[in-house]
Amino acid sequence: MTTEELEQLLAQQPIALLHRLARGRVQRHFRAGKRRLIEVLLRHSAENRAGFESDLMILIGEKPARPAPAPAPLHAPTARKPKPSGAPRRPGQRPAEPESQELGIPLSTWLEGLGVPSSSQPFIPDAWQEAAIAKLRESDVVVSVPTGSGKTYVAVEAARRAIAENRTVIYTSPLKALSNTKYTEFSKIFGADQVGILTGDRRENGQAPLLIMTTEILRNLFYDAGGGEIDVRLDTLGLVILDESQYIADPERGVVWEETIIFCPSQAKLLLLSASIGNPHDIADWLTSIRQTPCHLIKHSTRTVPLRAGYLHPNGKLSPLFRTAGIPHGHPSHLHPEAKRLFEQYEDETQPSGRRR
């Protein structure tokens, strides 16, 4: 066999086989991708080409000899019944668990709906978004919704209304990078003269009605106001929007959010936007207990764009992760039999013997 032929043969093999081949020959082979792995394998085989080739032949020969798993998955994703591919695997060792007998959905169903929604639909705000904006008229609002639900829409609309009433709006985010992104974004929406930014070292358009800053800066503003150095902006302050307010649990910086909320003037409404957290009602109750008006909690856990979880095997095989198309909330063990089988296979192949967890 020439080097080129060998290289081609290696390239045809699945990467798992290459890793098995590399075991004991190449150090840290798991780091390398397929191409790199083949390269290194060829380099190492130069001294003992015959031994290398025979090992390769044994591994290749072994493949069809092993029971079903290799060919079966090829049809499994599209097949109506994934069960046969899950069951025959090492029947002696692993008796089929009751779970794996339940059918998972086929991959085609899982992939259904993939694509772009027709763009003709006008944007209609969700009920919770409307509710949040409406409630903000009379009370503070805590919003806890999943990532990507459209919290920004609430912030923009709330800011728009406050500006219309000639009130200053302060929007804070935990990171300077996010502040800058929002600055650009809001400048496009409200016009450049309406938006200002204050960060640790940047100060632009500081008298604009909508000010974007990091939470630390706002805290400092409140401290200065408390110390007697009154900032004119705080007199007309009508709305404080704290984005990503789940940062209140940050070990180092969380205290800044608490200080900001404690010292927020009572005439300004607070709008706390947070990702899904376990105890949003605690935050709302807390605000109710320290602020003059009772705080309103907006909370929901369904995503606007539904989420599906999948499993991609290193050999490129894709499978749904769970038996159902959506996420089975509260049932972490409802794994798709195919994903489960593939992951077990992965663990078997990759765990060094004798070191099983």
């Binding site: 991708g33 992939l111 992104t181 940047r202 095997h313």
Partner: protein, 619 residues
């Protein structure tokens, strides 16, 4: 260790299934960079239309941030439509990648999970390759909230009907962490209230001391402490109900009464007094009569094989191997001399209490011994008389033996005393929960008074007035440095360098430029001061190599960004962050114009030099 899917294969697979654009979350920056390198020899090339689209978007970004015009990654991003996005990159480059992603020009972005919270670009698909992330030097499993935050990037509102979060295994992945993360309810968040020195100073500036406690009570920390206290109070109420049957009896506080009585009763001497026959001397010596010890019985010698107490009288006894081979049981009192010599002897649980071989050895050794052996000095405690007698006599004063409720007290006592202990414990913890914040605040006040930032009446001193304007980490160290005039005559570069070494908390190793001798000696002083402040404030890392990077940038205004990057192995993004943070620290010093004009001037000169090149064009 296990393999993971090759980045090229991954992208190809995603494209085939129309799952792009995707964000691929990887463990480390290096993993992201390596994933990009993997495309070096791939045959993936974007169609010219898309390449042009990327170029068009990049052009717009470059117009705003010229520094990335020459970015080495531009050609490859343009060719393959894939980019990396992590903290090692310059913010302008990250903005460019985000912009590309927003315009849908890229098929995939390799990012680190630490950025999951900080990036604001969703995608159709999110690829998760890990179940743990590095948090302060340690790998921790992802929390449910974090998994959902990561997965939440999938599915763009208005652009996708569904989003996909796809797990692909890599070394050390734990699938259950992820499945639980997908399906679980996010964790509750807890307050992380820390009382810092600037906080104390600023609060006391605006409010008199007696108003502070109500302010602290408004914190979320106190809200959560109160919640816990309420739980305990409910428990306390339950306990009170349970304690009902154990109310006052013949005596009001019968539990304490019975407890004392019971203790005294237990201390009463036994019917057969054991220790009466044991002189303090023997009691002291008995501890030393351990197996292997050479002892003398008058003229003959022996080796102790075991010690025990006799069955009836409990008198101290030893079994000894005597010269000549006899094994005798004798009272410890018959031992006349205890030598300072122990022979090796292997214990056995039955007669002769050691292995037969060691009996042989012992006998042999015993004969070999010199006639004179050093005696073991044993301290005999004087006045070893047990005291209880006095208490025992007072036993007559207790009413309990003759009390009518004696039987009830005796049977209820264990439960009642357990309940009462629990009650006391709860009361104490409730008290602690209600006052801990205030105590922590007072501790800080004490320190500030000790250093002279606060008067004994907790008003701000002159030093306190300006010190409250330093609202950054390590504020105590910085204000103390100012009071010690450490920066007297320091040039802008030196000041900025020290500030950057105070601000930096990254212990990543690397190669860095050399420090000037002036800076080195100044840093030495800072380190000394930081060490002396360590009981009150965690000292910063104060790395000289980090300081040197800043010193070079400010000391040499002609130095270009590329030149600076070449002088160190720090990643561009890290240098940028270091300088940006230094800038923040310097601008805090700049606020001290009124009291420290010289320093504020040096700081503003440093800021002016610092803000050039990449740092100027960026926010």
């Amino acid at each position: 260790m296990p393999p993971s899917i090759h980045p090229v294969d991954l992208i190809v697979a995603l494209r085939e299934k129309h799952l792009t654009p995707a964000i691929v979350f990887l463990t480390s920056r290096r993993a992201c960079d390596e994933a990009m390198q993997a495309f070096d020899h791939s045959h993936i090339v974007l169609p010219p239309v898309r390449q042009e689209a990327i170029a068009a978007v990049l052009e717009k970004v470059i117009a705003q941030y010229p520094s990335i015009a020459e970015h080495p990654l531009i050609p490859i991003v343009q060719r393959i439509g894939v980019a990396a996005h992590h903290a090692g990159h310059l913010p302008s480059w990250k903005i460019a990648v985000e912009e590309l992603m927003r315009h849908g020009c890229l098929d995939a972005v390799f990012a680190t999970t630490t950025l999951a919270a900080g990036v604001d670009f969703p995608a159709r698909t999110v690829i998760i390759t890990q179940s743990s992330i590095r948090k302060s030097r340690d790998f921790m499993d992802l929390t449910i909230g974090e998994v959902q935050q990561i997965a939440g990037r999938a599915g763009r509102r208005g652009k996708d009907l569904v989003g996909f979060a796809i797990v692909t295994p890599s070394p050390y992945i734990d699938l259950t962490v992820l499945t639980k993360g997908f399906t679980g309810h996010p964790e509750a968040i807890n307050s992380q209230f820390v009382i810092s020195y600037p906080m104390v100073l600023n609060l006391l500036k605006a409010h008199p001391l007696d108003q502070i406690q109500p302010i602290l009570a408004k914190s979320f920390a106190q809200f959560q402490l109160n919640q816990r206290a309420e739980v305990l109070e409910r428990k306390l109420d339950d306990l009170r109900v349970q304690m009902d049957p154990f109310g006052p009896r013949v005596c009001t506080d019968w539990i304490t009464e019975w407890q004392t009585f019971d203790q005294v009763r237990r201390q009463k001497s036994h019917r057969v007094p054991i220790k009466k026959f044991e002189s303090p001397e023997i009691a002291a010596r008995f501890h030393f009569l351990t197996p292997g010890r050479i002892v003398a019985f008058g003229r003959s010698r022996g080796v102790v094989l075991r010690q025990y107490r006799s069955k009836g009288q409990k008198s101290p006894m030893i079994t000894a191997l005597r010269q000549g081979g006899g094994i005798t049981e004798s009272p410890a009192a018959t031992v006349t001399e205890i030598s300072d010599r122990i022979l090796d002897c292997v214990d056995a649980p039955i007669y002769p209490w050691c292995t037969p071989e060691s009996v042989e050895d012992l006998l042999h050794n015993l004969d070999e011994l010199p006639t004179k052996l050093p005696e073991l000095p044993i301290l005999v405690p004087k006045d070893n008389e047990p005291i209880p007698d006095a208490i025992v006599q007072t036993l007559g004063d207790f009413a309990c033996p003759a009390c009518p409720s004696r039987a009830a007290c005796q049977s209820d006592y264990p439960l009642a005393s357990k309940l009462r202990q629990e009650q006391h414990r709860h009361v104490k913890s409730i008290q602690a929960l209600r006052t801990s914040l205030w105590h922590r605040f007072q501790e800080k006040i004490d320190v500030l008074q000790q250093f002279g930032y606060l008067t004994p009446a907790s008003r701000l001193t002159d030093d306190g007035e300006w010190a409250r304007l330093i609202r950054i980490d390590h504020s105590l160290l910085i204000t103390e440095l100012l009071r010690a005039d450490a920066f007297n005559g320091a040039d802008p570069a030196m000041l900025a360098a020290v500030m950057s070494s105070i601000s930096n908390d990254d212990d990543r190793p690397g190669s860095f430029p050399r420090v000037s001798s002036g800076l080195a000696s100044l840093l030495g002083q800072v380190r000394k001061l930081a060490a002396s402040l360590s009981p009150h404030e965690e000292p910063p890392l104060l790395r000289a190599d980090i300081a040197a990077v800043t010193e070079r940038w400010i000391g040499d205004p002609t130095l270009t960004w590329i030149g600076l990057c070449k002088s160190t192995s720090m990643a561009e993004g890290d240098i940028y962050r270091l300088l940006a943070r230094t800038l923040e620290f310097l601008s805090q010093l700049h606020t001290l114009k009124g009291t420290h004009p010289g320093l504020a001037d040096t700081a503003s000169r440093a800021i002016a030099t610092l803000r050039r090149g990449v740092l100027e064009e960026l926010p």
